[in-house]
């Protein structure tokens, strides 16, 4: 099934995957806009804040975070 890659198509996808990675918040925003699910916004904001804490808590600094929360 091996074929010569078609350079134009490959380059197009190649350009796309080299574009900057948006943050999770930006992706959520895009998701809400695209799907018109604005009712999820307060829930997602709260969960994002908790998520940020969770991400920090998953790092090596977790012993300094939770005792002082």
């Amino acid at each position: 099934m091996s074929h010569d890659p078609r350079p134009n198509d490959a380059r197009e996808l190649s350009d796309l995957v080299d574009s900057p990675q948006p943050g999770l918040t930006a992706e959520f925003w895009q998701f809400l806009k695209t799907n018109k699910k604005w009712w999820l916004l307060p829930l997602l904001l709260a969960l994002l804040a908790l998520g940020a804490l969770a991400v920090l808590g998953g790092t090596t600094l977790s012993p300094f975070i939770y005792p002082f929360l």
Partner: protein, 751 residues
């Protein structure tokens, strides 16, 4: 060269697959390396193996594809919690931490696994990955595609079409209405682990009568003529709670769910037979609808339900399609392969030529081990072994042992990708022995006594032993076939009831003949499995029998072995008589007693009785070892905290003794940390463990606030305004049309 890595993770059966210039180079499930059955964690080890197999570094990869869209799935999870509010806090608190800490951070995990790979990850849809894994390796130029599993993002089953190098999904069923989850719910009710016990239920079905099938179709499932279905969710709890089934279903089925260690009753056998009958009916109707919708003559199948070999065989026998090809890794592991192939064919628009051969390469896509590695392992174990001169000698000697009624562990070449051992990581035995089935179940595999074994038969002899339709083969053990009349023997004893039926000799190959004369067979051919075929021919020469019992090389609730060490450990811990590792032969009777543990059942691990759908996660992975960089940051943190506490203690008017003691403790920890380098990891681990309970309590409190003060009011408002998307009455069809394929940009999005 274009190298594409596909990844599946976080639900069950995480895996990685590598496709280079359209060729499948390597694929493996994480469980084989981590030794955790159905390991769902990000597949770091499987990724490392795939790259090593191709001799690539992360920087050599061109694309990484993930098998589903996390944000869309998260949307489904939140909507499900909203539908359950305010009564589902426990399920909410169980599922959300996993989402916030890992499942929404696929790009981050990819960066950790692939240092040097800086491009964006491409996200396919869950069922699109299944469809790609079914169609692209298939031998068809064009085919209808049917994917059925528990649930992906929202879809639980899809119908699509594959033509050339493109697939398109046309219609879908949506969560919570799912054939896969219905089957899993009954699996759970019968006391087997969801996501891994479904095939046990399938094996249990022939012991029962489908007495509950009409009941299921009348009260629980609204099944339409086109195979679309809607479940009465009052019978299930997977959308709301921590169980698969509700009290209402327990009442209808005549009692509470069976605990996993309780004896099986005839009722459970009847339920297994009933859900099997319903599954077959749904699959057949879906297949007919797929044929009508696409007009195509061949079918590709994937998704966990496609592992139901009995239903697959009925589908083939029905003749709706001229031919059917089923992805051997039909479960979520295969999604990794599908994601990689989708990028190559659909996104890069690389042409595809359907092969007459096997693009899946016999599914032998995992690691192989060199003779030196095997020898080193055996030497380290102090094993007594013989090195045979060549493969011909290996097959001759193994066949002789098998003919002498020995049970042999057979470890050769590359490990299989998918749930079945196909003759490279197998336990083999003589199928003619009427006691072999019981011996294998109780002394080797330590598993339930009712479970049948599968035969591996030389493809050229398959028709002599099994009623396999002409021209059909079953190289991936994904079809059952009846044992042919010529091999059956008259049953001279009265037919017992229930599970005792398995002890009755029904054919000349009793160890692989189920109580209904069916066998889940593997046909072995030279192209896919040359060495295994040679072994079968040697066995045929010695005994006249061209087939063997082929069961996976593992014990109950453990993954199939991957490495020589795994194989030796399994051999040592069971009553297996011999182990063949490449050209090395190890006989149990020759091993020094002191080197072998007493064979025993595996540790009494309770199988998971919950679905991955309901599985929870913790916030902190305290088992993960800290890197030197982590430790340095941690040390700096210690100093800062000690300093801050010192200042507070000096300035505090209240409780200066308390703040002083606290500052003293932190300063002491910081001093030890920086002066005794060997203590660093221990101090880090210790403080991590101490903070874990606090973390649990605080996060639970925060989650409760979010659930009751934010989610529940939103859910109640939506319910009052009838915006909660609850379905109306019955409909002619429950299939929903899907939008056309997205542009390439949509594959960058996680939704």
């Amino acid at each position: 060269m274009t190298a594409i890595l596909g990844i599946s993770a976080f639900y069950h059966d995480a895996a990685a697959a590598l496709v280079v210039d359209g060729q499948i180079i390597a694929a493996a499930q994480e469980e084989r390396f981590s030794r955790v059955k159905n390991d769902r964690r990000f597949p770091f080890a499987a990724i490392r193996y795939c790259l090593d197999e191709a001799g690539l570094t992360p920087g050599d990869l061109d694309y990484v594809g993930f098998y589903e869209k996390p944000l869309r799935k998260f949307d489904r999870v939140l909507e499900t919690h909203c539908a359950a509010a305010p009564g589902g806090f426990r399920a909410f608190a169980r599922s959300i931490p996993g989402w916030l800490t890992e499942k929404l951070h696929v790009a981050r995990e990819v960066r950790h696994a692939l240092p040097g790979f800086s491009r964006r990850v491409l996200f396919a849809e869950h069922h699109e990955s299944h469809a790609a894994s079914a169609f692209f390796p298939s031998p068809f130029d064009e085919a209808a595609i049917l994917t059925i599993d528990g649930v992906g993002e929202w879809a639980t089953a899809t119908i699509g079409a594959g033509r050339g190098n493109r697939i398109e999904l046309l219609s879908e069923l949506r969560f919570p209405h799912s054939l896969g989850l219905l089957y899993s719910a009954v699996t759970s009710y019968c006391g087997f682990a969801v996501d891994s016990g479904e095939y046990k239920l399938m094996g249990l079905a022939p012991y029962g009568e489908p007495n509950f099938a009409d009941d299921i179709l009348q009260h629980i499932v609204d099944l339409r003529p086109d195979g679309s279905l809607r479940l009465d969710m009052s019978y299930f709890d997977y959308g709301h709670g921590l169980r698969m089934t509700s009290e209402k279903l327990h009442r209808r089925f005549g009692g509470p769910p069976r605990p996993c260690d309780a004896p099986l009753e005839q009722r459970h056998c009847d339920l297994a037979a009933s859900i099997q009958k319903v599954t077959e009916e749904v699959l057949l109707r879906m297949a007919r609808h797929a044929r009508e919708q696409t007009g195509l003559r061949n079918l590709c199948l994937a998704g966990g339900v496609a592992l139901n070999a009995v239903a697959n065989a009925r589908l083939l026998a029905e003749g709706t399609f001229d031919d059917v090809w089923i992805q051997p890794a039909a479960g979520d592991a295969g999604g990794a392969l599908g994601a990689a192939l989708l990028v190559w064919h659909q996104l890069l628009e690389q042409p595809r030529t359907a092969r007459t051969g096997d693009s899946q390469r016999g599914s032998r896509l995992g690691p192989a081990f060199r003779a030196e590695e095997i020898r080193a392992c055996l030497t380290q174990q102090g094993a007594v072994f013989t090195e045979l001169p060549d493969e011909a000698a290996v097959c001759r000697e193994t066949a002789r042992l098998l003919a002498a009624q020995k049970v042999v562990g057979w470890f050769q070449g590359r490990m299989e990708f998918g749930p079945r051992a196909l003759g490279n990581r197998s336990i083999l035995a003589d199928p003619r022995n009427p006691r072999m089935q019981q011996q294998l179940n109780q002394q080797i595999k330590f598993r339930e006594s009712f479970r049948p074994f599968a035969p591996a038969v030389l493809a050229e002899n398959a028709a002599e032993y099994f009623d396999l339709p002409a021209g059909r083969s079953s190289p991936y053990m994904l079809l059952v076939a009846p044992v042919s009349e010529s091999q059956r023997v008259a049953v001279t004893v009265p037919e017992p009831r229930g599970l005792a039926r398995l002890a009755v000799v029904r054919s000349r190959i009793p160890a692989v003949t189920h109580v209904d004369f069916s066998s889940r067979l593997q046909t072995v051919d030279e192209e896919r499995a040359g060495l295994f075929a040679t072994l079968l021919r040697e066995f045929r020469t010695l005994t006249g029998c061209p087939l063997l019992v082929n069961t996976s090389f593992n014990v109950r609730d453990e993954p199939i072995v991957c490495s020589p060490q795994d194989a030796y450990d399994c051999f040592a811990a069971t009553n297996m008589h011999a182990l063949v590792l490449g050209t090395f032969l190890i006989l149990k009777e020759q091993q020094p007693r002191t080197r072998l543990p007493t064979p025993s059942t595996p540790s009494a691990k309770r199988p998971r009785s919950e679905s991955a759908l309901l599985a929870g996660s913790t916030w902190i992975d305290s088992a993960r070892p800290a890197s030197p960089r982590d430790l340095r940051i941690f040390g700096v943190g210690l100093l800062i905290v000690a300093g801050v506490l010192g200042i507070v203690s000096l300035r505090s008017a209240h409780w200066p003794w308390f703040w002083g003691s606290l500052a003293g403790l932190w300063s002491a920890a910081a001093a030890v940390f920086w002066t005794v380098p060997r203590s660093r990891a221990s101090i880090h681990r210790c403080l991590n463990c101490l903070s874990a309970p606090l973390n649990s309590m605080l996060s639970l409190a925060v989650l409760a606030v979010i659930y009751y003060l934010i989610l529940t009011p939103i859910a109640l408002c939506r319910r009052c305004l009838r915006r909660d998307g609850r379905p109306g009455g019955t409909s002619v069809t429950y299939w929903q049309q899907r939008p056309p394929n997205g542009t390439r940009e949509t594959y960058l999005q996680q939704f």
